[in-house]
């Protein structure tokens, strides 16, 4: 069996499962946000059913999309979310602390072998520690909150093997964008994506989250990386027992195996309006930009900010371009502050924003006007995603975003890292 099949079998109380089989599994972690959380169907319907949350200790609620609120209505939603969490005895409520998936990661809420669901499609990020993690809607979450269970069709797995060693200026984001380009926007629908190979194994934890985060951009149910010594060191650092590990059997059956070479990889850019319109940097370099954005659960971690600061050190953001930087969490913010990264970014002309989903989801803090163009370290470039439907979003690594901010046009980060 694959790691995904083993986790689902274990959570279903079965010896074995096979792709296509429908199983009911126990949920270890259920996460809700402010934008799609208690306020959409959940709070009211729970009352209507006369039910309470099955196990408040397994629930995490994060107000991240509307913090800090841009409108009184957003503030109402955050207040509602907070009060509902309190009323249900949910201790693990976080607001103004960062993007929900980063909170699950750095607090050690998501652990290897878990079944985790969340009301945000990028919940699949949790797979970076060898968990089965996937996004669900709020009515589905209501079912989880009442029963503690959910059904899944066991997905067949596509194995993505990244060989080689990426060069300087090539980040995990480039690996996953390339993967999106190869597999396509819907190419992994209903599938599990298992990421492996020397280039994945060599990635630090910060970069692994970025890989699993974007599994859903290929339509996948989950993305997963087996836990190893890098994972163990991460849990040791945050002082959390990592629990039970699963790994794929050597004879596990895969629907497809895709081999890619990180050694040959250039920085990648996904052009508007789809995540799979991926091109090597040389094909898009020189395109004018108005905004450069670093942040979110995809591209706002410490390693990302390090890459940005390294390129910006002693340089200035181009005139007529704004660089907006939203650290993925309060912890990341603090560490970046202590390391002097935020100072470097601000000195170069970057604007440091609150840790938030903000502009990535088109809610606040950096929306685009009609006709504007943004290069962004986030995960989606759909029409209207970051503001006006007439704006355009290019997706790239934090390093590419930083180099582009300096030049005022899409730029290759590698020349900035030479010597």
């Amino acid at each position: 069996m694959t790691i995904t099949e083993k986790i689902l079998a274990s959570a279903a109380g079965k010896e074995k499962v096979a792709p296509g089989e429908i199983v009911t599994v126990k949920v270890d972690l259920a996460m809700m946000t402010d934008i799609i959380g208690p306020r959409i169907e959940i709070a009211e319907r729970l009352k209507e059913l006369g039910a309470r949350v099955w196990d408040p200790e397994k629930v995490v609620v994060v107000s991240d999309h509307y913090t800090p609120p841009a409108t009184a209505r957003q503030a109402d939603i955050v207040k509602f979310t907070r009060e509902w969490a309190q009323s249900q005895g949910i201790q693990r409520y976080h607001e103004y602390e960062g993007a929900c998936h980063q909170i699950l990661a750095e607090k050690g809420y998501i652990k290897p072998g878990m079944v985790a669901v969340g009301t945000d499609s990028h919940t699949c990020m949790g797979g970076a520690v060898g968990a089965f993690a996937t996004g669900i809607g709020s009515t589905e979450m209501l079912g989880v909150l009442v029963t503690g269970e959910i059904w899944f069709k066991v997905p067949a797995t596509i194995k993505v093997i990244w060989e080689g060693k990426p060069g300087a200026g090539v980040m995990a984001k480039d690996l996953i964008l390339k993967t999106c380009g190869v597999i396509g926007h819907a190419g992994a629908t209903y599938r599990a994506l298992e990421f492996t190979g020397p280039a994945i194994n060599a990635l630090p934890m910060d970069e692994r989250w970025c890989i699993a985060n974007m599994a859903v951009e290929m339509g996948a149910k989950n993305g997963i990386i087996e836990a190893d010594e890098v994972t163990a060191a991460f849990f040791q650092k945050i002082g959390v027992d990592e629990g039970k590990h699963f790994s794929s059997d050597p004879d596990a059956a895969y629907l497809q195996i895709i081999r890619l070479d990180a050694g040959q990889l250039e920085p990648q850019v996904a052009c508007p309006p789809a995540v799979d319109q991926v091109h090597p940097i040389r094909e898009v370099a020189g395109e004018r930009i108005d905004q450069a954005y670093v942040g979110s659960c995809t591209g706002g971690r410490l390693n990302d900010l390090k890459a940005v600061a390294k390129i910006l050190e002693g340089r200035k953001v181009a005139k007529n371009v704004r660089l907006l930087v939203s650290p993925a969490s309060r912890d990341v913010y603090l560490e970046a502050l202590k390391a002097g990264l935020l100072e470097t970014i601000a000195a170069a002309g970057g604007v440091i924003l609150a840790p938030t989903c903000g502009a990535c989801v088109g809610a606040h803090s950096g929306l685009l006007a009609a006709g504007e163009r943004c290069i962004s370290a986030t995960n989606r470039n759909f029409v209207g995603r970051m503001g006006s439907p007439q704006a355009e979003v290019y997706l790239a690594s934090p390093a590419t975003v930083a180099a582009s901010a300096i030049e005022g046009r899409i730029a290759d980060p590698r020349p900035y890292l030479e010597g």
Binding site: T71, G118, T119, G135, L142, V146, T189, G219
Partner: protein, 166 residues
């Protein structure tokens, strides 16, 4: 999901109609009625005003890709959409639709349907009739556990029945 026979006109769309097109995030803080007024705005401004209650969206591959935000279902329902027929769906969107009782049908013959065609859908039979063309298409059956949810009218009525039995 409503039972019996549904009837409405077809509104045609292409592939990869994602959740940001169906229900742009900047309207998500509004009430349900207002979210509905902005349905499909990213791809067809004025959609909610143009359709009649019960009309169907007929789309290509990967309808509903992107977010898990159930405001996509809310937007379509409040705009008056009677159901979505597509060649394929993104999985979270499909699940959310089943759970919230928005009829969703996977149909390979989507290209046979033109903008404005009059359709009749028999959910129990799993059949789409194209009255304008005098054709009918069979919808592949759902897995038994999903059918149970559909027959209950969505996840909430299903849970209600389940809670009453325990």
């Amino acid at each position: 999901m409503p039972q019996g026979v549904l009837r409405g006109k077809a509104w045609k769309f292409g592939d990869n109609i994602n959740t940001d097109l169906i229900s742009p995030a900047q309207y998500m803080e509004l009430d349900y009625e207002s979210i509905g007024r902005h349905a499909m705005e990213g791809v067809m401004p004025g959609f909610a005003d143009r359709i009649s209650k019960g009309d169907f969206i007929v789309a290509g591959e990967n309808f509903g890709s992107g977010s898990s935000r159930e405001t996509a279902q809310i937007a379509l329902k409040y705009a008056g959409v009677g159901g979505v027929i597509a060649k394929s769906f993104a999985r979270i969107f499909f699940r959310n639709s089943i759970n919230t009782g928005l009829p969703v049908l996977e149909l390979q013959e989507v290209d046979r349907i033109d903008q404005g065609d009059e359709l009749e859908i028999d959910l129990a039979k799993g059949e789409v009739k194209n009255l304008s063309k005098n054709e009918s298409y069979a919808v592949p059956p759902l897995p038994p556990n999903v059918r149970e949810l559909v027959e209950a009218g969505g996840l909430i009525p299903y849970l209600k029945a389940k809670l009453q039995n325990t």
